[in-house]
């Protein structure tokens, strides 16, 4: 294996360790009595059932969900940035998350409130919504293989506005008491889902990220534009759509259950690129691992910062990501992009 291959392996190994450590940390921190000491005794008989339930049934699914969502949104961010050749892309900013959320909410409205945790139906409907946004986005903002930043961002904003309005209407029609839940979903918040949901998100996310990793070298070749990618041997249409469908799928799987957690797909890939360079063969898996750690930390913060009141995690990602986006946008304007 080449020197580069070894250093990539080392980086990914360290990021995986970091993710495992972050998960451990997040499991030990919380409002209840359960702490790190109990974590070490999780398999022993003398741990009281109440503490064990807090750790295994409340915290563990939530922490795993945060890790999966962080990985998915970061991977999707990389894919959209590469296919649209625009570093400001993110599933939330582009309105892809908005479309997914609308699909998920429409599914529950039609299937009945008891199906909120439906492990397959809800992500499937979210995927349909995400693809609808993607088609609109590509039709309006991508002209002859190029996207103009302002057009892209405006289309994303408008898609989000329409979707948010429709979501609020669908959730609260006939019952305004559900307003708070709808608002939390629009901001993005992580709960403790049943294991069937964790399994569903994990399956879709791992499959989607594996697909994107396989495409990652071709994503490199797209960096000079679609025509040059073709000259370098890329089947451009096939690669573009495979990447966009994979990214939409993993976005939908996440958004279906946590709502519109924003900016993760912007913050994490930019940080990873700054640290390890732009090569997608490293960027895709590294962003997924780092994104998992990032959202686990953000959600832990959301749990404990104003305890016992919990913040929706989307508040934290938006407070970090919003200003970061503005900074990137200003920089881009100055450079005349």
């Amino acid at each position: 294996m080449s020197a580069e291959g070894r250093s990539w392996g080392l980086i990914l190994g360290l990021l995986a360790l970091g993710l495992a450590g972050t998960i451990w940390l997040a499991l030990g921190i919380g409002v209840g009595r359960a702490g790190f000491g109990d974590l070490g005794r999780i398999t022993s008989q003398d741990l009281d059932p109440w503490t064990r339930a807090i750790l295994l049934d409340v915290r563990l699914p939530r922490v795993l969900l945060a890790a999966l969502v962080g990985a998915a949104l970061s991977g999707a961010g990389v894919a959209f940035q590469a296919t649209l050749r625009n570093p400001l892309s993110d599933p939330y900013i582009l309105g892809v998350s908005g479309g997914a959320a609308l699909g998920a909410v429409a599914f529950t409205a039609m299937a009945g409130g008891s199906r909120v945790w439906s492990p397959l139906g809800r992500p499937a409907a979210a995927f349909a919504g995400a693809m609808l946004s993607v088609v609109v986005l590509f039709a309006l903002a991508r002209i002859r293989g190029r996207t103009e930043t302002t057009a892209l961002l405006l289309v994303g904003v408008i898609i989000n506005a329409i979707d948010s309005a429709l979501i609020l209407f669908l959730v609260t029609a006939g019952d305004t008491s559900r307003f708070q839940g709808a608002l939390f979903y629009l901001v993005g918040s992580i709960g403790s889902p049943p294991w069937s949901v964790i399994a569903s998100i994990a399956g879709l996310t791992v499959a989607g990220l594996a697909g994107l990793t396989l495409l990652s070298h071709r994503l490199n070749l797209l960096s000079f534009g679609e025509e040059t990618a073709g000259h370098l041997g890329v089947n451009v249409e096939a690669v573009l759509w495979t990447a966009v469908v994979s990214a939409s799928l993993i976005t939908a799987a996440s958004v279906a259950f946590v709502g519109l957690v924003g900016f993760v797909g912007l913050i994490v890939p930019h940080a990873v690129r700054a640290a390890f360079g732009p090569d997608h063969r490293l960027l895709v898996p590294a962003s997924a691992l780092a994104g998992g750690s990032f959202l686990v930390l953000a959600d832990t913060l959301a749990r404990v910062m104003f305890a016992p009141v919990e913040l929706p995690v989307g508040v934290i990602t938006a407070l970090l990501g919003g200003p970061f986006f503005l900074y990137l946008f200003m920089k881009r304007l100055r450079e005349g992009g």
């Binding site: 080449s2 291959g5 050749r85 625009n86 570093p87 396989l214 990652s216 070298h217 071709r218 490199n220 070749l221 960096s223 000079f224 534009g225 025509e227 040059t228 073709g230 000259h231 370098l232 041997g233 890329v234 089947n235 451009v236 690129r273 360079g277 732009p278 090569d279 063969r281």
Partner: protein, 274 residues
């Protein structure tokens, strides 16, 4: 130009017809390029130079007729096999993200890599060799976007050479370069052509540079070949009057005999908007 040998030409456009939406460019266009030739494509703006290159590169599909590379129809060759045969140096190169020069040159190995797209030692050797030839080795670790125009162009030539193509197509490679780098690019192309037998087709605005370095010139006029042959045959005073609408003096370079064109006056009124 093609000899009596049985081997098919490197590149052949056979009765190619092409139109952008409502503006027809080529109507049953023919061109044959033999292996090892170095050809300059000349002609005024909008006459089809870039379109011709894009058709030859497979970026555009002809409406009718065929583009053949070594006797096989481009339409039947997949993108990877095509990229192992044809290298392209576009006029402009906009890169997103800060890939290094070395990473950019290794992108040229793309069509030779396996499913995972990982380079091996041989790919690195080839990248190293083409960077040496194009004189960009000492830029290897620099971000591509920080390079000057001349440096970028040499790196993009290196990327195309890393594909190990049979044919190199270049679209006005000197358009944004200063004099020194213009001359350097053509000298490099001529060297590649003479030493490695690489077939080179270069679209050019610069008649004199092309005349000095290409043994065959093709002059396009309104989607047709107006003149085709060695520089001394193609570069005539009457030709420039008809095709470029300009009066020129053509002098033979005393040492090489290569014609040198000096524009004297535009023919007819050039007003705003023309």
């Amino acid at each position: 130009m093609a000899g009596p040998s049985a081997s098919p030409p490197a590149l052949r456009l056979a009765a190619v017809t092409f139109a952008y939406r409502h503006s027809p460019i080529f109507d049953r266009f023919h061109l044959t390029v033999s292996e090892g030739e170095m050809i300059g494509i000349l002609g005024p703006n909008g006459t089809g130079k870039t379109t011709l290159l894009r058709l030859a590169a497979g970026s555009l599909r002809p409406g009718s007729g065929a583009v053949e590379v070594r006797g096989s129809d481009l339409a039947t060759i997949g993108p990877r096999a095509r990229a192992r045969t044809i290298g392209v140096v576009p006029q402009e190169n906009h890169l997103v993200h800060d890939f290094s020069v070395e990473e950019v040159v290794l992108m040229g190995r793309g069509p030779h890599l396996g499913l995972l797209g990982l380079e091996g030692p041989r790919d690195r050797e080839i990248a190293h060799a083409v960077m040496t030839r194009t004189n960009v080795l000492d830029l290897a670790k620099r971000p591509f976007r920080t390079l000057s125009g001349g440096e970028r162009q040499r790196v993009v030539v290196a990327r195309a050479l890393a594909q190990q193509p049979l044919i190199l197509l270049l679209d006005e490679p000197t358009a944004f370069l200063d004099l020194r780098h213009q001359v350097a690019i053509y000298a490099l192309l001529e060297k590649l052509n003479r030493e490695s037998g690489l077939t080179v087709v270069v679209a050019s605005h610069d008649v004199n540079l092309a005349a000095r370095h290409c043994r065959r010139l093709i002059l396009l006029h309104e989607g047709r070949i107006y003149a085709d042959g060695p520089p001394a045959e193609v570069l005539r005073v009457e030709t420039f009057r008809t095709v470029f609408g300009v009066d020129v003096e053509v002098r033979a370079d005393p040492s090489t005999g290569v014609p040198h064109v000096v524009p004297v006056a535009a023919i007819g009124a050039i007003g705003p908007g023309t």
